[in-house]
């Protein structure tokens, strides 16, 4: 069975994460309930005429995938696999509003065409003239992990050697308003929005696109080996520890072998207990890191988490801004990621130094 290596990454997020050293230019913003995107230079990657027709998510996906492929030095892909929980919201809303406002008359197809969930994956393929396998996963907070599972399975089985895999979400006006109405996004007038010191429900949201090149060969640009990914639709808090241990056991590891854990804390007091039950329990003596204070929450924010973990393994360094507790690992061989969203869509991901 072949192994699976992370050989290139590209990240568009609310932080400056393109063309800069790892977390060199970060800003911890605790004053907004929706973090603004740090807009990358689209011109570098997409001809302006084409970019004008594309929604934000499509552009960000193309930019992130471009940098990931460039870093890994690959031009041909055996598969393109995209995760997006909410899909192309901007075009969906545009078409839906026009439909309602104009009572189903005078509509044009462009926004409908672009509203399809697989637009990002389709546009990447179109741009690369890539006729390979092309899947899009759309299952909330495991959309990205589903993509990883699929990609890893193809590399393991030697069905593919080079795969582009990523997660992308875009904020759209109405969807953001709806999520505020339901309290899933914290109310506007509530700052400061500290993730770890939160005493309120809901989360600070944002958007982004994070892509990875996964290959069956180790090379100079390799960040880490992707060892395993697993997902559960629902877990009780009491079940998490046992599931974690069985996941590690399946990889011949125990909690003591984990040098650092990357937790998906988002400041929602209703659900952050899933993390604290591990952080105060079985992972008490393990170095704990978090990232959603940098990236914001969104369905594929965990791709930003993997981007962070990949860098920590590669650089053998975890910047202080990521720290949850005071434990410091001597080195970073094995890093575990755990994420869930409102008690659903749990995922464990394991990466290691190679």
């Amino acid at each position: 069975m072949k192994k699976c290596y992370i050989n290139g990454t590209g990240c568009v997020s609310s932080q400056k994460t393109i063309n800069t050293a790892f977390l060199q230019d970060i800003i911890v913003n605790e004053n907004e309930n929706v973090l603004e995107l740090s807009v990358p230079d689209y011109k570098e990657v997409i001809p302006p005429a084409a970019a004008r027709r594309m929604a934000k998510g499509v552009k960000n996906g193309i930019v992130a995938s471009h940098w990931a492929m460039k870093e890994a030095g690959v031009h041909n892909l055996d598969a393109i696999i995209t995760g997006t929980g909410m899909g192309c919201c901007i075009d969906s809303e545009k078409f839906l509003k026009a439909l309602i406002d104009n009572k189903e008359e005078f509509l044009t197809p462009t926004s409908f065409i672009q509203s399809t969930h697989n637009t990002v994956g389709g546009q990447i393929a179109l741009g690369l003239e890539c006729k390979a396998y092309n899947f899009t996963y759309v299952n909330g907070a495991v959309s990205f992990e589903s993509s990883l599972i699929d990609a890893k399975m193809q590399l393991d089985e030697e069905e593919a050697a080079t795969i582009l895999v990523g997660g992308v979400e875009e904020n759209a006006e109405a969807t953001t308003n709806f999520l505020q109405l339901t309290g899933i996004i914290k109310p506007k007038e509530q700052s400061s929005y500290s993730v770890l010191d939160s005493d309120t429900t809901g989360a600070v949201f944002s958007e982004g696109a994070v892509f990875f090149v996964l290959e069956d060969d180790k090379k100079e640009t390799t960040y880490a080996e992707l060892n395993d990914v697993t997902i559960y639709n629902t877990l009780e808090k009491e079940e998490v520890e046992a599931k974690l241990e069985s996941f590690l056991k399946g990889n011949g590891l125990s909690v003591n072998d984990i040098d650092a854990v990357v937790l998906g804390y988002n400041g929602d007091t209703l659900y952050d207990g899933y993390y604290t039950i591990l952080a105060d329990g079985v992972l008490k003596n393990t170095q704990q890191l978090y990232y959603k204070h940098l990236s914001g929450e969104f369905n594929t924010a965990s791709a930003f988490g993997l981007w962070v973990a990949s860098h920590v393994v590669k650089l053998q360094e975890a910047p202080e801004v990521l720290s949850v507790n005071d434990v410091k690992a001597a080195g970073y061989k094995n890093i575990l990621l755990y994420n869930q969203y409102r008690g659903k869509d749990h995922s464990f991901t394991l990466v290691s130094q190679c």
Partner: protein
């Protein structure tokens, strides 16, 4: 050569029936389900025909025993009904007895509710519970809840090939040993969003759809859900399960030609068929029936027909599209057609391609227009979607 992955259960709800049996009877009796739309108020009511399930949301909710304040989209209810049938049909009594997953597929998700309450949400909190049922993943969560399933649950959305890809992923997870059992399929409800979307693309027929006909005018949209149960050989053996058929091959490729249109020569379609043959170890000459994508749009049928000729040469087996019966049910299409393919194997029938009159001038293959009984050992089923997404599934007799 392995036989493939065992299919041990099926469930379906479509405009031609609320069960596997009802669907089969409609197919062999040539009873289509294309009508005037009743459940959705739309200005296009008199100019389009659809494959609509003649049950209101209230009736569907009652069937599932949902509370009055539930937040199920129509898509989720249809999916739950079909998935429950499939699980029952497979004789599963304890859903979590084995490592069981659910792979769903949808294109619209909860759009049917979002389009009703879009402006209402800001005004009152009466319907706000549906905000959380908009995203595609909510549909899979609802189905998993209805089944009591805990484990690997995910959703694929690649437009009109979605369910084929869900079935494909499920088979791979079984082969890979990641799951012992998986419920796979897709669900899509009719919505104003899709009706108007396809209307703007000018590919909706104003009458009954006529796949592979020279004068075809476009598609009829439909709504449906279907799920299949796939089980590992070990589970089949241990429980002495009846195998309905095997999923023997699958392939996905991208046309990489245009966001919505298919390439003239059907490159993506040809590649997906080629991959499916390779995985199965079958040759084109082994195929006894092709259940075509056959949407009856000018573009699809030409592109698919050419791809079929490229793949099969001068020996194209009987083929037909069942879309004149059900309409194009988008993300559910490949799942309902998977059920029809299994039924074709079990009963030895080729379904008629209804409404066909005039052969296409571009090539000389014509679909099977009458019900035909014959021994069928292998069926090929195509499904293609926006974004150039092309998928092929192969089903073989158990």
């Amino acid at each position: 050569m392995s036989r493939g992955v065992a299919i041990t259960g099926m469930g379906i709800i479509s405009s031609i029936g609320n069960s596997v049996e009802e669907n089969f009877n409609a197919l062999i009796q040539s009873k289509p389900g294309i009508t005037v739309i009743e459940n959705i108020t739309t200005v296009h009511k008199n100019v389009i025909k659809v494959g609509e399930i003649k049950k209101t949301n209230g009736q569907l909710a009652a069937e599932l025993g949902l509370a009055a304040d539930n937040n199920y989209s129509r898509t989720a209810m249809l999916g739950a009904i079909a998935a429950k049938q499939a699980v029952n049909n497979a004789g599963i009594t304890d859903i979590n007895e084995f490592n069981t997953g659910l792979i769903s597929a949808t294109s619209v998700g909860g759009m049917d509710m979002t389009e009703r309450f879009f402006y209402d949400y800001a005004e009152s909190d009466e319907h706000r519970r549906y905000i959380l049922s908009h995203d595609a993943g909510d549909v899979a969560h609802k189905i998993a809840d209805q089944l009591g399933l805990k484990g690997l649950v995910t959703t694929i959305s690649t437009a009109c090939s979605s369910a084929a890809n869900a079935i494909m992923l499920g088979a791979r997870l079984i082969k890979n040993g990641k799951l012992d059992r998986v419920i796979v399929g897709g669900t899509d409800a009719l919505s104003k969003f899709t009706i108007n979307g396809f209307k703007t693309l000018m590919i909706l027929s104003d009458t009954y759809n006529t796949p592979f006909d020279n004068d075809r005018k476009g598609l009829n949209l439909g709504e449906a859900a279907a799920f299949l149960v796939l089980e590992s050989d070990a589970v089949v053996k241990q429980q002495n399960k009846k195998v309905l058929a095997y999923l023997s091959g699958y392939g996905n490729a991208n046309d990489a030609y245009h966001q919505t249109a298919s390439s003239e020569n059907g490159d993506g379609a040809f590649l997906s068929m080629e991959k499916a043959f390779k995985i199965s170890g079958l040759a084109p000459s082994d195929i006894d029936y092709i259940n075509a994508h056959g949407t009856a749009t000018p573009n699809n049928d030409l592109s698919e027909g050419r791809a079929i000729i490229r793949a099969f040469g001068n020996n194209v087996p009987e083929f037909s599209s069942t879309k004149p019966f059900t309409g194009h049910t988008l993300a559910a299409a490949a799942a309902i057609e998977a059920v029809y393919s299994v039924l074709a194997l079990q009963n030895g029938v080729v379904y008629p391609n209804l409404n066909f009159k005039t052969p296409m001038e571009e090539f000389d293959i014509v679909p099977q227009t009458e019900l035909k009984e014959k021994e069928i050992n292998h069926v090929l089923s195509n499904s293609f979607g926006f974004g150039g997404n092309c998928s092929t599934l192969l089903f073989s007799k158990s």
